[in-house]
Symmetry: C2
Subunit: 232 residues, 2 copies
Amino acid sequence: MQEHTLSSYDEQLAEIASDLNEMGRMAWRLTADALEALGSSDAAKAHEVIEADKPIDEMQQRIEQLAVLTIAKYQPMAVDLRVLVAAMRVANDLERVGDLAKNIAKRTIAIDAPLRSQKLMTSFRQLSKLVLSQLETVLAAYAARDGKMASEVRARDGEVDAIHTSVFRELLTYMLEDTRNIAMCTHLLFCAKNIERIGDHATNVAETLHYVLTGEMLEDDRPKADASSQAS
Amino acid sequence: MQEHTLSSYDEQLAEIASDLNEMGRMAWRLTADALEALGSSDAAKAHEVIEADKPIDEMQQRIEQLAVLTIAKYQPMAVDLRVLVAAMRVANDLERVGDLAKNIAKRTIAIDAPLRSQKLMTSFRQLSKLVLSQLETVLAAYAARDGKMASEVRARDGEVDAIHTSVFRELLTYMLEDTRNIAMCTHLLFCAKNIERIGDHATNVAETLHYVLTGEMLEDDRPKADASSQAS
């Protein structure tokens, strides 16, 4: 771990909060760009997304390092300690969001053909729009320490899962209809799954905010409507 | 964060190391059981795997809490601080391994039919065997602080990716041959991907050990042979 000159405790906290905000914006932007590249079969944009994931990884390491050094130097207790642990958790979730967006971009390049099914495109757009909104809302809730807004994000994850399951079924149908769709639809199955998982990370951020505000970890008992791993 | 009575620094470090070993054994066991359930279409075993993931999640929280409180209380520097940060990272990777094993178990229940292709079963067995060996080796390397053994795990990740890509292609062929295979093969595509990702987490543990031993983070430049997200 590199040496890092620590300024005052409050300055450290403000710097971490600001980095986390910046990282949230970067992860949201990368997701939006990946989904736009996917929707418009834009290989050039997909290549940009792949490149732009690296600064997000670096930001995670920076936040982890700052948080750990702040804990070591100032020995914060209770809520102050939770804020720092939470910063590391959120940075971890946002790093995963970046990876998932990058994977969508890689598959966009592999697909290299427009989606021919209008119905499928509409479903993908619906899923993308909801997940981007979930991510945006939870990042705003986190910055504002708004537990109510975060709970709403958590409650809506079931909706993400339901749309994902429906996209999953449509893709299966499309594969059954014409075997020439199989290779492309396989990539799209993974893209849909990645979008759904970005939604899960938004939910994780909501749960981390609950932990900051209350000191309690939420049990993983939120309504699960993603039946895609059970579908037969 | 709960209060935790801290004993001496060395005792704390020993407790964290012991928890991490235990967590490694749990995650390896869960993976082995999930892969056995998948290979033998054993729904009862798959249900056991789903249940057994919870203690792994709890162990992660426990290790994170202990590591953070130890950092706050003892303000360790240099290698001591790295050991604690690394414990949190490894616990995070092992928690993800548990989730991936659980997802394989869920899909095993959904598939509910034996794999009819001998060739496919052989490929899955080969992939499973290699990934279990990677996980076992990296956990032993981590416990023994054996950087050389860990490097070997990292070097072999390309082999995991190559087998995964080959399984991916076989599954596509199998779907093209007979559309009745599509639903089952879709689950198997995700299972294969999950196994490959368990291999990635083994590699992450190897990289975390390198960080403990040297203070340097490895760039993500290891040979990538997983062409499945590029395959068209």
